[in-house]
């Protein structure tokens, strides 16, 4: 609808934001009510005679719907001041059209109840987000990112379609509910195909190559939605597929867990090597998808080994991390968007000192950083804590599962440490220290519609971190919808856990307040002066002497060199009167490198060989058609 009003810029924007926002709010309340009351609701519509579209909302769908609608509501509010370039009105109107399509499609994906409906919604979602990625299409890099995304999402969709094809071939129906009757060999095939397909949407290593290109290319509110919730539809797909196949075999859990650990560690290592703020955040999505998959994988192993506590803790931790990641990742993308908006650059090493000029953004970003590093008393800690507990419960199992749980626990510990290193880099280099460029020096934040969502999200991080007792039952309801056979899941032991976390958080706050009071008392009547930083005897410091993000990460990256090859371009400093020199480093993604070498090039070479088929002679083309019909007549 806003498309019709593109000539009236402000009216168009307001209308778009209000209508989309109202829709999200409506959906949010509805999903929340459905989750609280439980049960499932379904609806079906006829479509193109042979098929019909059917939808069903159970607790799992409602759980995902809540994060979808909540994040989209805030993102669309944020976009009101983000897109403020009036001459681009038509483009912005189109952007809102696809934005609303994307939100609708995501909601349909998580409620779809048969193969056709799911595939249709999935494609609408992929295509609308593709158009959002290439919003700034004049830029060649953005077009390339969009193209890469299209290739990945369509290839992924092919895998999902293949999985659905196998399901249809065996069950002969489009119904999701008939999937449970498949033979076991087919179930494994379906799960692996679907895992690859959904994994490419979720950004599981090595199918994540589109993510670090597409997220920086998209406008920030869109990145927030894509990274915060859209990639979670991939997780939804994996979890839903697991529940539909209804076969508790450890193999599924093992696949998911290993993929999770690999994506988790490599995602954060690559993130550490990035120089572009939004690209860095995109790699962190790979990492967090890894954490979610670790949780879900442990849950699946627990379900297979008939360890109810382990299974429920794993699934609940993974699903709660879906919500948590949606909150802090969209917060961080909005913060990055604000930085981009205020300074015009995403290059980490040319920013600095922004906290002084952008107080609200800086504080919100700091809270998001603490949360994504999994530190107490914020929300990231809660879900990681649950996954840890599940992992420790798994240590009682047999050899393979024991080993995998050890890998998961140690992997989570390493991921946590690396994420901390990465976000101290971002906060330290972007928001602290002295500005490294003119743009960073003059930055100032603007647009109340951009603050409000960030403040709400930061508050959400703290609320879930301090009072997980209100949010964990939501995740538990979603887990009970998986049909693991543990219904009803008793709430009390889990509320005991969250109660402990609340207590610990309260303890931290009390101790902190005591120290704050002590500090106030100690500084009363003292002289406090301000002067330049102590340069260890060096008297003429310049801002260029500060530690940069590249130098900060260098030693850690050195450690991970086999997985993350670093190329450097630095001629060095020579002579008594050194000339100007430069340093450029680039960290290569091994998935990208090998996919290019092993997969893409042979395929391209093969199709090059077939080029003679396409010669432009219309007569021969008609001949092809005739030939095809004749062949079909023989075979069909």
């Amino acid at each position: 609808m806003p498309l019709f009003f593109w000539r009236r810029f402000v009216l168009m924007k307001t209308m778009a934001v209000l209508t989309i926002g109202a829709g999200c709010l409506l959906g949010l309340t509805d999903a929340a009510v459905k989750l609280i009351h439980g049960g499932s609701y379904s609806a079906a519509f006829g479509y193109l005679n042979p098929f019909y579209l059917s939808f069903r909302i159970d607790a799992l769908s409602a759980f995902f719907l809540i994060s979808i609608f909540a994040i989209c509501l805030l993102a669309v509010l944020y976009s009101y001041h983000y897109v403020d370039h009036a001459p681009d009105a038509l483009r912005i109107a189109v952007h809102y059209l696809f934005f609303s399509l994307l939100i609708g499609a995501m909601a349909l994906v998580v409620t779809a109840d048969n193969l056709i409906t799911f595939m249709l919604s999935w494609e609408i979602m992929s295509l609308s987000s593709f158009f959002l990625v290439i919003t700034q299409f004049e830029n060649a890099e953005n077009r390339r990112a969009g193209y890469l995304y299209l290739v990945f999402s369509q290839t992924g969709a092919m895998f999902i379609l293949a999985a659905f094809g196998v399901m249809f071939a065996h069950s002969g129906s489009f119904e999701f509910s008939d999937a449970a009757g498949l033979p076991e060999a087919a179930k494994i095939l379906v799960f692996v195909l679907a895992f690859i397909g959904f994994g490419s949407k979720a950004g599981v290593f090595p199918f994540h190559a589109w993510l670090p290109h597409a997220h920086p290319a998209a406008p920030s509110p869109v990145s927030a939605v894509m990274s915060g919730v859209m990639i979670k539809t991939g997780i939804y797909g994996i979890v839903r597929m697991y529940s539909l196949l209804d076969w508790h075999t450890p193999v599924f859990g093992e696949i998911v867990l290993i993929a999770g650990v690999v994506s988790g560690i490599l995602g954060v290592v690559y993130a550490l090597g990035q120089h572009d703020l939004k690209r860095l955040l995109a790699y962190h999505s790979v990492e967090n998808i890894g954490i979610i998959l670790i949780g879900v994988g442990i849950g699946m192993i627990g379900a297979a080994a008939d360890q109810p506590i382990m299974a429920v803790l794993g699934f609940a931790g993974g699903l709660l991390h879906v919500l948590n990641h949606a909150i802090f990742k969209s917060l961080l993308f909005m913060g990055a968007g604000m930085v981009l908006h205020a300074t015009g650059t995403r290059a980490i090493d040319s920013l600095g000192g922004l906290l002084k000029r952008m107080k609200i953004t800086g504080t919100a970003f700091l809270i998001g950083s603490l949360a994504i590093s999994g530190l107490p008393p914020l929300n990231g800690f809660v879900s990681e804590f649950l996954i840890y507990l599940a992992g420790f419960h798994g240590l009682a199992l047999g050899r393979i599962d024991f080993g995998l749980c050890v890998v998961a626990i140690v992997g989570l510990a390493i991921i946590g440490g690396l994420a901390l290193a990465c976000f101290t880099k971002v906060v330290g280099v972007v928001f602290q220290g002295e500005p490294r460029s003119q743009a960073a020096r003059k930055a100032h934040e603007k647009g109340p519609a951009m603050f409000a969502p960030m403040i709400v999200l930061a508050a959400g991080c703290i609320a879930i971190g301090v009072f997980p007792g209100f949010f964990l039952p939501m995740a538990l309801k979603a887990v009970s919808a998986l049909g693991l056979g543990y219904d009803p899941i008793p709430l009390a032991p889990f509320l005991q856990l969250t109660g402990n976390i609340t207590q610990a958080a309260a303890l931290i706050f009390v101790v902190f307040l005591l120290i704050l009071a002590l500090r106030y008392f100690l500084y009363r009547g003292k002289t406090v002066t301000r002067t330049g930083t102590w340069g260890c005897g060096f008297t003429r410091p310049t801002v260029k002497m500060q530690y940069t993000g590249s130098s900060y990460a260098a030693s850690i990256l050195e450690f991970f060199r086999p997985a993350a090859p670093l190329t450097e371009d630095h001629p060095g400093v020579r002579g008594r009167f050194p000339q100007k020199t430069h340093y450029h480093s680039h960290i290569e993604d091994i998935a990208e490198r090998y996919q290019g070498a092993v997969f893409v090039r042979p395929v391209l070479a093969f199709f090059d060989r077939l080029r003679w088929l396409q010669h432009g002679d219309i007569h021969l083309y008609i001949g092809y058609i005739l030939l095809a019909i004749v062949v079909l007549l023989f075979f069909v």
Partner: protein, 305 residues
């Protein structure tokens, strides 16, 4: 009641024990050394002073010392001292405590990055790097503890009627665990051979260079937090070596404080007989601890379960 007394005792004694390390080093150097109470004098002196803040800094610079002291003090509340039950305890509190140290580290690093000083950035980068491996080691040790005791809280490992009596069940692997723990202790608390707080060149420091710009009570908070943290890790090592809890609290305290003194002396001896490793060798040293913890787990599982 006992827990509160012991907690207060720990908080009061932490600086004294850190002074012990200096004394041991002086002994090895053939010097008389500063008095045992040196750290109390320093703290009192710092608390009396005012502060100088860099113009580059923000509020995070002031938060850094407070958070690092807060997390270290909170961690002590979960620590069973001398075999007594800690003030707070619940399933999974070990994970919370390890992540609390992470929180403290985040703010120490952020405060260092706040000053725009290249030296502090350098220290911060190292501070972010080495503890990653330490965390992996600590979780590996936790896995061993969990498989031995089936519990996931500090109180179950180090206090109560059935503390982790590793000497009886798993003597040989325990030696590995103690060494691994000791390496983690040295790394986490920036001691030689990972970091040398007394060196003259800022370029070669880790923790000391990060707190260069702090002064007055802020710096006292940082020092106190560091003493608490060292006390925390030393207590764990001491309880691993000597899991015996005497029935009378006072006797238990004396025994514990004696063993704890031995751990601090061991730190002092290590510092006296070793030089700091080259920075690029440190990861290998810390990785050794992970390997030890890993093999301890493997051995325990193969032969004892």
């Amino acid at each position: 009641m006992n827990s509160i007394i012991f907690l207060t005792l720990a908080m009061l004694l932490a600086p004294l024990y850190a002074g012990l390390i200096i004394k041991v080093k002086a002994f090895f150097g053939g010097r008389k050394g500063s008095p045992l109470l040196i750290h109390y004098y320093t703290l009192a002196k710092l608390l009396k002073k005012g502060s100088v803040y860099s113009t580059s800094t923000t509020v995070i610079f002031k938060l850094g010392p407070m958070v690092s002291l807060c997390t270290a003090a909170t961690a002590l509340m979960f620590l069973p001292i001398a075999g007594q039950p800690p003030l707070f305890s619940f399933t999974g509190d070990v994970i919370l405590v390890l992540y609390l140290f992470g929180l403290g580290r985040f703010f120490t690093i952020a405060a260092a990055m706040d000053t725009a000083s290249p030296f502090e950035g350098m220290g911060a980068a190292r501070e972010a790097y080495f503890p990653i491996i330490c965390e992996a080691t600590l979780f590996m040790i936790l896995i061993l503890f969990y498989t031995l005791s089936g519990e996931l809280n500090l109180a179950a490992y180090f206090s109560g009627d059935r503390p982790l009596a590793l000497w009886q069940t798993a003597g040989a692997p325990l030696l590995f665990v103690v060494i691994a723990f000791f390496i983690v202790l040295l790394t986490e608390n920036s001691r030689v051979p990972v970091d040398d707080p007394t060196t003259h060149l800022e370029l070669t420091m880790i923790h000391e260079v990060m707190v260069l710009d702090h002064s007055g009570p802020d710096f006292a908070f940082i020092e106190l937090g560091a003493f608490f943290k060292l006390f925390f890790f030393s207590t764990l090592v001491a309880r691993l070596i000597c899991p015996v809890t005497l029935t009378h609290p006072a006797a238990a305290a004396v025994l514990f404080l004696g063993v704890l003194g031995l751990v601090y002396v061991a730190v002092g001896v290590t510092e006296s007989v070793m030089a700091r490793y080259r920075m690029d060798k440190v990861p290998q040293f810390v990785l050794t601890s992970f390997a030890l913890a890993f093999f301890a787990t493997v051995i325990t599982l193969e032969f004892l379960r």
